[in-house]
């Protein structure tokens, strides 16, 4: 049995010391990473609680409850930061990614402690797959938060829509990786391919525009 609180304390302790020692944007990065890990811990509690309340098995909980809970929880530190500190727009994307990285790191550590760690190939694919998935979903939601819509209700509706995209994407990923063999590998490649496609569109936007004309 894993005591994830104990793991959390061990991982969070050096980061907490770093928060006290560092200044400016470095401190902010560490705080967001720590909050990502904290949200992962809280998500696991909420997931377990909801699965018990609704009497769901582990598989159903992982494809129905955990995507919703995790994506909402991952968004909370960023919303708090936005509402309380009102930062400039250019800081928002980086902070969301940092929360996602903290979340994915803690999730991976818990996975490693509960599963076989002998197959480096599988762990490499899983590490990249899960990490990228959390970054992708964080970035999708950030699109909405980054003032894409002028009016408040449009921003709220748009952010809810983007959060749902993140949830459904996460749930599809969880279905694929809940299986073994080919579906699992397709699942792990799913976010990596998405990130590559986004980076290609971002980098070659001007060339693509000329090409499509």
């Amino acid at each position: 049995m894993n005591y994830i609180e104990n793991i959390y304390i061990c991982l969070a302790a050096p980061l907490l010391v770093a928060v006290l020692c560092l200044e400016s944007y470095r401190r902010r990065i560490i705080i967001f990473m720590l909050s990502g890990m904290t949200m992962c811990l809280l998500s696991s509690y909420i997931n377990t609680f909801l699965a018990a309340v609704y009497g769901l098995n582990a598989l159903t909980a992982s494809v129905e409850i955990s995507p919703t809970v995790e994506e909402v929880m991952k968004l909370l530190p960023v919303i708090f930061y936005l509402l309380v500190f009102e930062p400039p727009k250019n800081r928002m994307a980086g902070n969301t990614i940092t929360v996602a990285i903290g979340f994915a790191t803690f999730e991976n550590v818990c996975y490693l402690l509960g599963n076989d760690t002998s197959n480096i190939q599988h762990l490499l694919i899983r590490g990249f797959g899960t990490g990228t998935m959390h970054v992708v979903t964080g970035m999708v939601v950030m699109l909405g938060m980054k003032a894409v819509w002028e009016k408040l209700w449009l921003r709220l509706a748009g952010t809810l829509g983007l959060l749902t995209i993140a949830i459904v994407y996460h749930a599809s990923f969880n279905i694929l990786v809940s299986r073994t063999g080919v579906p699992a590998y397709i699942g792990y490649m799913f976010p990596i391919v998405t990130v590559i496609a986004v980076l290609i569109v971002k980098k070659y936007r001007k060339k693509l525009k000329k090409y499509f004309e």
């Binding site: 769901l56 098995n57 598989l59 159903t60 494809v63 129905e64 995507p67 919703t68 894409v148 819509w149 449009l154 509706a157 748009g158 809810l160 829509g161 983007l162 749902t164 995209i165 949830i167 459904v168 994407y169 749930a171 599809s172 279905i175 694929l176 809940s178 299986r179 579906p183 569109v201 936007r205 693509l208 525009k209 499509f212 004309e213």
Partner: protein, 231 residues
């Protein structure tokens, strides 16, 4: 979930994937919010259909029914509402139409019917009725504004028509799902579902007209500006 469901969903996935590709190409080319919103709308429907397909193929009876699929489908209406609202704000005045009062009566009456006949989830049906109310309100409002203005060029009328066809087919599919249960191609539900999938394509030429019209207008006004400054 039977094999016909999976086949039907595969057709939807294929159609929506094509729509997504067209949307992203147009979004890169024109860099307008209309194409981006349509891309997000199609993306959410695609992901929901993919989730449904994966659930049916990989999990089957191992897990409970997928509420995330319903969430994805319903929230996708939000993007369509935002798109209609965004276009309406640019083209219309804030005129009030009394006939719009009938829309919530219709959507909630249908929701009550679905709860009674298909023994559906109350919360899910209420949320759906609310979203359909908002979507139909935007659609009918835009349609009423365009009515009687055929002499002028109102490119957005095609989008409202596409949206109305989508709403009609959505309700038709839901109604048919309450009364026809057999797993064969004679079941009209499957045909209605295929027509609904095809209706997603209608938004592409509709948005294309609006964006091209606006680009042409912007080019025209910039040309006038440059002529004025040159003169």
């Amino acid at each position: 979930m039977n094999s016909l469901d999976i086949f039907n969903n595969s057709i939807s996935l294929f159609i929506i994937a094509i729509c997504m590709i067209i949307d992203i190409i147009r979004a890169v080319k024109f860099r307008t919010r209309e194409w981006m919103l349509l891309f997000l709308y199609h993306t959410l429907i695609f992901l929901s259909a993919l989730y449904y397909e994966l659930y049916a193929l990989l999990l089957g009876d191992e897990a409970h029914s997928g509420h995330i699929y319903e969430l994805g489908c319903y929230v996708s209406y939000l993007f369509l509402i935002i798109l209609l609202q965004y276009i309406r704000e640019k083209e219309m005045d804030s005129k009030r139409y009394r006939s719009l009062i009938l829309i919530p009566i219709f959507t909630f009456a249908m929701a009550v019917g679905f709860i009674m006949y298909s023994e559906g989830d109350v919360l899910s049906n209420v949320i759906c009725a609310l979203l359909m109310w908002m979507l139909l309100r935007e659609t009918v409002k835009g349609g009423l504004y365009n009515k009687g203005k055929y002499g002028k060029t109102y490119t957005s009328k095609w989008l409202y028509r596409a949206s109305f066809i989508f709403c009609y087919l959505e309700y038709q599919t839901w109604v048919l799902s309450c009364f026809f249960f057999d797993d064969s191609w004679t079941n009209p539900f499957y045909w209605s579902d295929i027509m609904l999938s095809i209706s997603y394509i209608l938004f592409i030429p509709a948005v294309d007209r609006i964006v091209k019209d606006r680009v042409a207008k912007a080019d025209g006004s910039s040309m006038i500006q440059s002529l004025k400054s040159g003169g």
